[in-house]
Subunit: 420 residues, 3 copies
């Protein structure tokens, strides 16, 4: 606040109110530092944010520190196998307790003055503080944490939105067969996109850009799944689209018979917790998002031993996921600044799958490594263009960018619900 | 605005009003981020700014993207050989249309979603937008562009200053003989000076610093052309100055006979479009700004086949130029931040001159490459000093820094004329 | 001011008033850019700041430029051997006169336009300014400078705090025997800590963190000198502490007999000039802060030819010092930004001591090079943690962090005394 003058809240509110439905956001909502701080406070500070996967901390004493905007948190598994999260800040002089990434601990010991916390956050030892010092007043500040089907969501607010239960109710059964909780992280990639986090999310919510920009992804992905202009198709495209519709008819019958939930569930405008899920057909040979569209891992995830399971696709506020029979790809996006966003990608495989034996790491990761790099380039182009006074909010396609329009509407309503 | 609090305009106005004539500007006019943004909006946003040369885009379909502060524009030659400029921002989701530097296109195709524009800015194709989408509402935003004697000036304002006609009336005939429109760019250098753009311009408008800092330039340049204290000269300097005055008498007679305009024309305080031009004698052997003061290029520019044509010197708001019989050097300065300025230098030669045959590139570029590096160092020293609270606006020499005083007065008046 | 909106002063004042005694400061006092600027203006701009040592400029014409926050100053020894300091800004166009670090000059000549100053700051020459130019109005702006026992303090204010006399009265006699004025700088290290300058100073004012973080320093340093919880000691620690108390009884008798001042003098809350000094016992063999606790230099400093002289420890606003019989270590801290602080360390030895002969440089510098690196890591951890909204001001130990509580109280009172 101190570094941004007073009228910020009102200015942001005016800007938010000026958003024109059906159009991309006013420039400053993407580019302003004040808005970025407001986004960190509001969107990332008061909503359920995807932070990782259960198998990031598979054993008691496993600890992982991650940053959500300016906030560092520790996620850990305590001695009773319970997952917990805390602010990564010592209650004494504020030092970071745990270094970035993963580590293993008995207790949490602050490196500065050895204040020592149990894994439930209680202050167990504080040297030199005197005989009358009440340690119970100085526990670690807890952070709300939920494990939903092996995906971890944290909420920094003391009053987390209750509708996380709806995400759990929809997603838990859909992911059950894949047993992601007992999977392992085969590979993790951090990539910085030179753009606002909302551009990262917009980019992910449409496949309008796929055909021209993602030749490799397009082998396993049906861009038409994300909408198309029915009157703008060439004859060839019409034929392809009709074939895809036919395929869905068959697949959905199969999925229904095999008891695999597939229907699209959208939980967006009007709710704090924004998500969408649907089971999608994988293109080509239909098995996995790999260069040859075949499964990359010999051992399927969990009980996912059936063919044609497709891709359980799940979007969230700062995340997107593709869960397939042989592996899952989990993406989380964290704001680093108005014009910088971290995209963290994790490839999950069965815990017993061995690299080099059961899967080739390059084959497993090739499609999304390539696609991530292409998307980073596009997000950078969008951000740089929007920084120019020549930018005016442009029209979203009602066919291929409806989800972006809804994401923008959701963003506006969440900011307004939180005082802007 | 959002990131800078409210009272900015008033504060800047106060600061501008506090400028003391005959003295350098108050520190914050050089160092403040708020002022820098105001400069971008006002000076670079509402005046005619030098952006390049006609021969940057010699053929239909040639495109060049450049940044003017936070604004990226595209300059191109359309299929009818007409020069045009647009904001480099797609009307759809704001992505940069064209990468930095030069490229060749048939149409302008946005890399993000393939919105496609004709070279006149009309939106020719926008996939998936639906049958009722009115493309005519989504053309590229044009930018005013003028070609004056082969030098390009752009104005980002919708209401460009009309006095560009005076620049055209004065400069067009002076440059006619050199035919810069049909020259070619033999070399281009981008150099970042660690100082405010106004310090870059001040540095260029005096040669008080030349004798001690530019030994190489001084071989072909008469520092006395830019003023001297008549009472402070040593006997040797007096003799040199008298010799130069005699030389001008002879040269001017010759220039008059040969119909080469030479008189100084100053169009500074009181006008939006700030320029000064004069034909100068080249020192030494008098041919060109090269290490040995001889022409560096065998083929003269245009019809510049006469000896002793000297140096047509032209200053502008963000530019300076030296046009000689064998080559021209065109400098443009663009603000990158309060303390960073891009200086772009282009060496122009006859389109048919071949490197290695008709000119040696190192000989052609040596003087100004060296001089630019020296100037960058000086601008950095000035900027760092001005950042210190120990700085007070200092007195300009009435003899050697009159042009700086006028530039500062022009700056103050232009900011005031635009609401500060 | 311009870049920070209006209500800054009030906001900072509110923040400062909210500081809770016995606790670390509110986060924004460590992290805000506005507060950092206020600190530069107030603490570094209106107090006596340690800037170096007399033997940085041993000869007439020796010049040293250093930065105090955004201010660059020149410290020099003039032709009459008088030490002087000036703003490092030319009175003409504001260029930096002198490059960073040390140089030797006859006069101070501005590299830009050769304005030339005598070493007393008078403008001796200003070419092209005209016959009626009054050079006496354009001397260099002086900076107050004091040499206290060979340590240099500067004050940027025109009204420097008078209580520097108390520092002089206490410290001058304590340092006399070491003759630091005629020592030499054997080595100098610049290290950037990734934290606010107040965290650098807090870190230095306690040894609570030493046992776990400074194994090498702990060989020559008694952490107990900086406080301990008497009721929290193990039996072993109790025995050690009692032994140390006994040692002090013997040492102090010896110091009294030998006329070596040793008593702790504290001059902190309630005064502009904050300092504390005390003669400490060196642990181990008791000679010096070296890996084997023996003297590193064969020739003692000045007349420091007696054994068991211990360590004359001196803290200041931005400095700490250890003066031992064979060498002194002088630390100064300069703010580079809200989250960056320069720690400059100088190792002083007798001017005639020869490296390789009288001392081994690695042995001389090992302990504090290692300790500085360890401290930089800790300051970085503290700063990063405090940036998180999870930080709350934590309780200082009344036993081991009393000096921090006093430093924080001093800081609050100084800011309030200066308008916040």
């Amino acid at each position: 606040m101190l570094d941004h003058g007073t009228p910020r809240t009102e200015d942001i509110a005016t800007l938010i109110a000026s958003r024109r439905p059906g159009h991309s956001l006013p420039a400053a909502l993407y580019t302003s530092a004040a808005v970025w701080h407001a986004d960190c406070d509001t969107i990332f500070g008061r909503h359920w944010i995807a932070v990782g996967v259960t198998c990031d901390v598979p054993e008691a004493g496993d600890v992982m520190a991650i940053d959500i905007g300016p906030v560092s948190i520790v996620i850990l598994r305590d001695d009773d196998d319970k997952l917990r999260a805390f602010h990564n800040v010592c209650a004494h002089r504020g030092a970071r307790l745990v270094p970035p990434g993963r580590s293993v601990v008995g207790k949490l010991v602050c490196p500065y003055h050895q204040w020592t916390y149990d894994l439930d956050g209680a202050l167990a030892r504080a040297p030199h503080m005197g005989i009358d010092f009440d340690r119970s007043l100085h526990h670690l500040k807890p952070v709300a944490l939920r494990d939903i089907g092996g995906l971890l969501y944290a909420c920094l607010s003391d009053d987390p939105p209750a509708d996380i239960e709806e995400l759990a109710a929809v997603v838990e059964p859909r992911l059950a067969a894949y047993d992601l909780r007992n999977a392992k992280v085969a590979f993790e990639q951090d990539l910085i996109e030179e753009g606002n986090w909302k551009l990262t999310m917009e980019n992910n919510r449409e496949c309008y850009h796929c055909a021209s920009n993602h030749p490799q992804l397009s082998l396993s992905f049906h861009a038409a799944d994300f909408g198309y202009d029915p009157e703008g198709l060439t004859e060839t495209e019409k034929a392809e689209t009709n074939a895809l519709l036919d395929a869905y008819a068959s697949y959905e019958q199969y999925w229904r018979d095999e008891d695999m939930p597939f229907e699209a569930v959208e939980h967006t405008v009007g709710w704090p917790t924004n998500f969408r899920t649907q089971r999608l057909i994988i293109a080509g040979l239909g098995e996995s998002q790999t260069p040859d569209t075949r499964a990359a891992v010999q051992i399927p995830l969990g009980q996912a031993r059936k063919p044609w399971m497709g891709d359980v696709h799940l979007w969230g506020i700062n995340s997107w996921n593709h869960v397939m029979s042989d592996h899952a790809v989990v993406f989380t996006a964290f704001p680093l600044g108005p014009d910088r966003t971290l995209v963290r990608t994790k490839w999950l495989v069965h815990a017993e799958a061995e690299e080099g034996e059961d899967y080739d790491l390059e084959t497993l990761t090739a499609v999304w490594k390539t696609t991530n790099a292409e998307d980073a380039h596009l997000v950078g182009l969008a951000h740089r263009g929007i920084c120019s006074p020549g930018y005016r909010p442009g029209p979203y396609s009602r066919y291929t960018e409806r989800a972006l329009d809804e994401f923008a509407s959701w963003y506006v309503s969440r900011m307004q619900a939180n005082g802007y």
